[in-house]
């Protein structure tokens, strides 16, 4: 059996676009990327199920002409799961926007601190009584911006 070329090309396009979007900074775009890649995987199941056929019900379709119901059952499960995950990601993007007025996927804040210390050639753990980082991680997460410069810094927005 050779797979349907339209399906294969669609899958390839979905994965390409999806991966590109996954690499974006904005969580909304990442979310769309996740959806596209997920749908690509779902279509892959259709290819895996073999040639299309009649409804797989004994007595309705001849045994030889049935389509394979198992991958379709799996796709249904996967679609439901993706739906739930999408809803959660949307909620997170909204919460991030609520807190910071942007939905940027940020780099590790603590990593940034260690990198800063390394840049000024400081010991990560100093034995003296000098003050450590004065801001909490929450504050730093609110202020830090990575690559995107759309929207406004959190400090300027009245809450």
């Amino acid at each position: 059996m050779s797979p349907n070329i339209v399906l294969v090309v669609t899958i390839a396009v979905l994965f390409t676009v999806g991966v590109y979007l996954l690499l974006e900074r904005s969580l909304s775009r990442v979310l769309i990327g996740v959806i596209l890649v997920g749908n690509g995987a779902n279509l892959l199941f259709l290819v895996a199920g073999g040639a299309a056929g009649g409804p797989p019900i004994v007595g309705v379709t001849d045994d030889g002409e049935m389509s394979d119901p198992l991958p379709q059952a799996m796709v249904l499960t996967a679609i439901v799961i993706t739906l739930g995950m999408t809803a959660f990601l949307l909620a997170m993007a909204y919460r991030s926007w609520q807190l910071h007025r942007h939905d940027e996927v940020q780099d590790d804040v603590e990593d940034r601190r260690i990198a800063r210390l390394a840049a000024i050639d400081e010991l990560a753990v100093s034995d003296s009584d000098e003050e450590g980082p004065t801001k909490t991680l929450d504050e730093e997460a609110a202020e830090t911006r990575d690559e995107t410069d759309e929207g406004h810094p959190a400090a300027e927005v009245t809450r």
Partner: protein
Amino acid sequence: MSDLAWVVPMPVVVPLFAAGLALALYRRPSLQRIVSVTALSVVLAASVTLLVVVDDGPLVVDVGGWAAPVGIDLVADRLSALMLTISSAVTLCVLLYSLAQGNEDDEESAPISIFHPTYLVLAAGVADAFLSGDLFNIYVGFEILLAASFVLLTLGGTGERIRAGTIYVVVALLSSVLFLVAIAMIYAACGTVNLAQLALRLPEIDPGVRLVLQVLLILAFAIKAAIFPLSAWLPDSYPTAPAPVTAVFAGLLTKVGVYAIIRTQTLLFPDGRLDDVLMWLALATMVVGILGAVAQDDIKRLLSFTLVSHIGYMVFGIALSTDEGWTASIYYVAHHITVQTALFLVVGLVERAGGSTSLTKLGGLAKLTPVLAILFFVPAMNLAGIPPLSGFLGKVGLLEAGVAEGTPLAYVLVVGSVVTSLLTLYALVKAWNKAFWQTPPVERPPVRLPFGMVGPAGALVAVGLTLTLAAGPLYAYTGRAAVALTERTPYIDAVLPDGERGTGESARLTDVAESGAHEGSDG
């Protein structure tokens, strides 16, 4: 022994029902607590029963009475029963700890009403992944536990948790998609997703295709197990969660990935063609992970990096592909779940007593709370592998297995794991000196640590010590599990007694399907 087969689904079904009940009781926190504790106690009892019973042979349940390759089956063999027992003991301890924390703190900091149902769902997902005898059901188990973990990780929705949670969620979803792609391709190649049937059919397909399938599965599981270079998400996301949540994540979630690798490597791909690659990955995971730990200032992050590093030991055992390697690896998983969870729980207590998790700000805790010092010291030394604790026994087992293998690469790994062990000791002793011995930067008022939190943490430390005391029988048990894994026949025969179908009741439909020309599918 099949009269005890009804126990097999219990670890999945009980927490799921209890989760629904706990959600319905969200206005009655005291009832919620009773429901959760009862449910997880039942799971622990069921798991211990399974641990004893399946020593005589795997137990199989065809869910809904549908025969195995068509229906979904749950399989409890020695490996999954051992994993279940350890994980249910750990989840119960962490639940008791978080109950006490909920009592002490105000409800604002930890919304209890959503915590209980989610936590139970997490337990069900972990159990499902351990018990499933069907690749797609493992995926569903993963998704159950991931969805629950998303909620637990972002409890309260503070800025930092949302930031860390975003990365965790996106990486987890990506690995799920990879897993799904792997399942689709395996179905396309073999026409089944039942593990036992796959074990029979995979040897018949083209070796190149088989290698692709193996790589895809390993890739998906390696993200979940946090194997270098796919481990960067872990130290970033875990430390921001509440202490009990971090503890249970650190103990269980990565080990589910390790379990999945062990299961698929033994049952589906016994020819071990990726062993050399896995060896190098194990070495990189160990060394890079522990070097990361050495650089950290925050004790929670330090422990997260040691977690990544010690995943490398388990992968080392897996990559050896010998009975000794599997034995040591399984023992190491059991040891590491308890010790890592105990350490994170103790760090939660350290945060209470010291007011911070930053090593620069902590100090003098040994004088302030000597009990806490002991509770930290024992699992820390256990993790570093000081004799005679279980970490030492697991590492010795791995080293012996590596030397027995005798290849130059295995010797490199042996040296690497010794170095990693020493660096772990260095990182943990540094944390000990800073947090417990140095003069505190700011004098802290004496704190009373609630017994409800010290108790479960102490219980987990005790479980770790039990693994040392009971090392003989336990090591023998993991040895028998490893032999059964290498033989493969006990598992396959239990699921498909006649080599074709399970023991469910869908025999009549078989005749219909077999008379048709339904090629490539399992009818």
